[in-house]
């Protein structure tokens, strides 16, 4: 037992911080309906500010902590409530995008200002130890006590006080609660400020334990997710206990890991297992239901007139053919944009066409890249067969991710796929069959008959051709029966299954097809880079991709190409723009795009209605009124006068409910 105790002490200490972070997360989620992916980023921002004040400017640590909590926790909480208010009824993917946008901004700023390397920071709490039957540091004791006091305090606040009951009421029925004389916005603001402050406190407490590192602190949110899942996204005490469990299990795992190398990566994956497992086991019926969603109306698939499309196609073709001569050294960037566009097509099949979400697409791409590399170098398959094989090998992965899609919806699906991506990154990437020791694998270019291995220019054309083929397949899918089923599934899964479609099958097919294209994208990207490696295929990348695809419009093909250009081609022309500024830029755009989407404003419709004239046969225009002879609406003999409320505007009817 003596061997284990020190690890348990460490685990409880870390677990108290995880639990605390989880408590703050659940508090804001339950009061606002907005699941904050940037909760860990708030902790990061608070911890860096604390570091800036305490270490760099010699402010006493206690004062530095208070200032950090006030500025980042309270002030950010105040601002976030204003943003969250506008997002509360938006689709889960919109909320993910907005909070990921905030995460990108904070991470970009901190890594720009302080660099990406881990900064070790001394403990500001006394590190002397006392002995129980194992040495315990006073700092550890204090951290655990702070955690318990805050968790219990918040639990009592929610269950015993008037404002706490208001906080619970505000999520169930905000309007009803306001009738009792309490200001719903004020209650929510308070919840966000408390949640933000708790996040900052957990960040400051964690900083001396793990060191200051923008990525690692941001991922505190994942431990918080795991803790929140154990609390079923509902109970504050259980969330705190969940944090303790995750901390202790991970610490015990760390001891085992040091003895058995086969367990590498397992301890740090404990929260992801908790998150993925609890979500899958509990299912959507056991979790708090989010507020009713107002779905973004997808752009209608009304094609432009044929001459315009043909003209644009020919012009685009000419540009693509001469592109290698025009861009010279930048050709590689355009080549990787082709691969990325294939990935974005695969992602938008989920996000745009079917109202699903995948926050693990980078894992699909990584598996595709490795599969391609091994099929072509080890199995010696011809190039195109290896690429096809890469797509097929990725399909089972898609089917695994379809499981949470069947069991869960909305934000919980997003969380489950995120957890799956993290599991892949932590456990699978480092295995010898993937990237041994984080290394890369060869990804050879195609051997063109009579020419030999393709050069840069020839490979660019190959990549364009593959992209074109995928676009054609996606367009066929969109017009096929499955395409119609998927669009219907996005609007009303209930109606679709009631009318006889097995939606489990539909979702399986969707994720299989999406994974297939992502696998192909992995191969194309790897060959473009010259090697298949884990770089740029972390879970954060999956988040970034979803954020980018969200801001480029609703048309699948156009938005995918735009997203790829914005992500790799555009930065190559802005020489001074480093990755951090790029992340900040995407973050700002993502937040703006989410707010615009959530407000119901559709720029494409607006442009068509207001600027583009009325020449196109409108599906947006007013519904033609039926003539009196048709007898439906205008039948003259009415017993009662029609109630004015029934004469509702089409916009009102759009919300789909009539209650």
């Amino acid at each position: 037992m003596d061997v284990w105790l020190p690890f348990i002490v460490v685990g409880i200490t870390a677990g108290a911080v995880y639990g605390l972070a989880g408590v703050g997360l659940v508090l804001t989620y339950r009061t606002s309906g907005v699941f904050n992916f940037a909760h860990g980023a708030l902790a990061t921002a608070g911890a860096y500010l604390f570091f800036e004040l305490w270490v760099k400017n010699d402010v006493p640590w206690f004062l530095a902590a208070v200032i950090s909590v006030l500025i980042v926790g309270v002030l950010f909480g105040f601002v976030l409530e204003r943003v969250a208010r506008r997002l509360a009824k938006a689709a889960p993917s919109v909320i993910v995008v907005a909070t990921v946008g905030l995460l990108l901004i904070i991470q970009g700023i901190t890594s720009k200002r302080y660099g990406a390397e881990t900064i070790t920071i001394d403990s500001f709490l006394p590190t002397e130890t006392f002995e129980v039957s194992v040495n315990v540091g006073y700092n550890q004791l204090i951290i655990v006590l702070v955690g318990i006091v805050i968790a219990v305090g918040l639990g009592l606040l929610l269950s015993r006080t008037r404002i706490g009951i208001a906080m619970r009421g505000v999520v169930d029925d905000s309007d009803l609660m306001e009738l009792t004389g309490l200001d719903g916005a004020a209650v929510r603001r308070l919840a966000w400020m408390i949640g933000g402050s708790v996040a900052v406190i957990s960040g400051i407490l964690l900083a001396p334990i793990v060191g200051l590192d923008p990525i690692r602190l941001t991922y505190l949110v994942v431990q918080a997710f795991g803790a929140a899942a154990i609390g079923r996204f509902r109970s504050l005490p259980w969330t705190f206990v969940g944090g303790l469990i995750i901390g202790v299990v991970a610490a015990i795992g760390q001891k085992l890991e040091s003895e058995h190398t086969s367990l590498a990566g397992l301890p740090s994956s404990v929260p992801f297992f908790a998150l993925f497992g609890v979500l899958l086991l509990v299912g959507k019926r056991g979790l708090p239901t989010a507020a009713p969603v107002r779905r973004q109306q997808p752009e209608h698939f009304a094609p432009l007139p044929l001459p315009i499309r043909a003209g644009a196609g020919i012009a685009l073709g000419v540009v693509v053919i001469f592109l290698p001569n025009l861009v010279d050294a930048r050709l590689a960037v355009y080549t990787s944009a082709c691969g990325l566009a294939i990935m974005f097509l695969s992602l938008s099949l989920l996000v745009k066409m079917s109202a699903q979400v995948s926050l693990c697409h980078a894992a699909f791409v990584a598996v595709g890249a490795v599969a391609f590399s091994r099929l072509s170098t080890e199995a010696n398959l011809p190039w195109f067969l290896a690429l096809l094989g890469a797509g097929l090998i990725t399909v089972p992965l898609g089917l695994i991710v379809a499981l949470p899609a069947v069991r869960l919806a909305g934000i919980y699906l997003a969380l489950a796929t995120f957890a799956f991506g993290l599991l892949m990154e932590n456990l699978i990437y480092r295995k010898s069959f993937m990237f041994p020791q984080g290394g890369t694998r060869d990804a050879p270019r195609p051997d063109i008959p009579g020419v030999g291995l393709a050069n840069d220019k020839q490979y660019f054309y190959v990549a364009v051709a593959i992209l074109a083929a995928v676009i054609v397949l996606v367009l066929i899918l969109q017009r096929s029966r499955l395409g119609r089923l998927l669009r219907a599934l996005a609007d009303s899964p209930l109606a679709l299954s009631t009318y006889g479609t097995g939606t489990t099958t539909t979702l399986m097919l969707l994720f299989a097809i999406s994974a297939f294209f992502a696998g192909i994208a992995g191969g194309v990207i790897a060959v473009g880079n010259g090697a298949a490696g884990p770089g740029g295929l972390g879970s954060l990348q999956s988040l970034l991709w979803v954020a980018v695809i969200a801001i480029t419009g609703m048309n699948l093909v156009r938005s995918s190409i735009l997203a790829a250009l914005a992500l790799v081609v555009l930065p190559s022309y802005l020489a001074d723009l480093d990755a951090d500024y790029q992340a900040i830029g995407f973050g700002v755009l993502a937040i703006l795009a989410s707010l615009i989407t959530a407000s119901g404003f559709d720029p494409v419709t607006w442009i068509k209605d207001n600027l583009a004239g009325s020449s196109r046969v409108g599906t947006k225009g007013p519904i033609p009124q039926r003539g009196a002879d048709a007898g439906w609406r205008r039948a003259s003999s009415s017993r009662k006068a029609p109630a004015p409320a029934r004469e509702e505007a089409p916009e009102l009817a759009m919300s789909g409910g009539d209650r």
């Binding site: 096929s480 009303s492 097995g502 539909t506 519904i623 089409p650 789909g656």
Partner: protein, 277 residues
């Protein structure tokens, strides 16, 4: 058991035997037995919270019964998933309209048929069989003409008024070629004129197609004008059953509606909504 052994006409249609549905401690439907035959309109009425929608959801597979048995044309539906019931020939509309809002009216109606043809097999979901495309187009045309929505065929369903949306939902159900339609408060959200027109339409549909309809309604005028037979629910229990005129004159039913004289009261339904939400 009796349904199997007696004449074929008896076993046709939807049979609910001793249905019990509980949510936690609440018994929403308590030992309900009823029959909705093919070729006629059966009404299911009752005040708010009587268990009408819960009964409906048990029939369409949106919730699962705690006790009892539901059969359709001799097939046991009690444990079948929602999609299987559609395969046997039961279609339904929803009290809270469930249209594919971003699709056009024509696409919505076509999916009434196509969703059923797509079924649960990955192959039929990917590749239509020979002749299905034509059958879908024909059924869509006919159903839209029948409901008088051909003019708005290209409009997006999400942009229509509630009255038109009800018609689109009905057209989608008709296109599905179902033998029995479950209509959940089709007149809610409609004004009196629209409601009358809807009743007329339903009558012509039953006469032309020979299908059966089980209709949940609030509005007594709809019931008396449309139904061949009616069941009255109150607090999850069968209160009364009989011809519409007998229902209207029943003292028991009057009492259940809080003693009011005007049985045509038209209030929004606040029934327990579970899977529907």
């Amino acid at each position: 058991m009796t349904a199997r052994t007696t004449a074929r006409a008896e076993s046709a249609g939807l049979h609910i035997e001793n249905l019990v549905v509980r949510f936690g401690g609440v018994t929403a439907v308590n030992h309900l037995t009823m029959h909705a035959p093919i070729g006629s309109v059966t009404g299911l009425i009752g005040p708010n919270g009587a268990g009408k929608t819960t009964t409906f959801n048990a029939c369409s597979g949106a919730n699962s019964p705690s006790e009892g048995k539901i059969t359709f044309d001799g097939h046991d539906l009690s444990g079948a998933p929602a999609s299987a019931r559609a395969k046997f020939g039961i279609g339904r509309t929803f009290q809270r309209i469930e249209l594919y809002d971003s699709l056009t009216v024509a696409e919505n109606v076509a999916l009434g048929r196509e969703a059923r043809l797509a079924g649960v097999s990955p192959i039929t979901q990917l590749i239509p069989r020979r002749g299905e495309r034509a059958a879908i187009a024909k059924a869509t045309e006919e159903a839209m003409a029948q409901c008088g929505i051909t003019e708005v065929a290209k409009a997006r369903a999400g942009r229509l008024s509630t009255g038109q949306r009800r018609l689109v939902e009905l057209a989608r159900a008709l296109a599905g070629d179902f033998r029995l339609l479950l209509l959940d408060e089709p007149s809610s959200g409609l004004d009196a004129t629209e409601s009358d027109a809807f009743t007329t339409l339903l009558k012509s549909v039953v006469a032309e197609l020979g299908i059966g309809i089980l209709i949940v309604e609030h509005d007594m005028t709809v019931i008396s004008g449309l139904c061949d037979y009616a069941y009255v629910l109150d607090f999850g229990q069968l209160l009364f059953e009989g011809l519409p005129n007998d229902v209207l004159t029943s003292d028991l039913v009057r009492k259940a509606y809080l003693g009011t004289e005007d049985l045509g009261i038209h209030a929004p339904d606040d029934e327990i909504v579970e899977a529907n939400a």
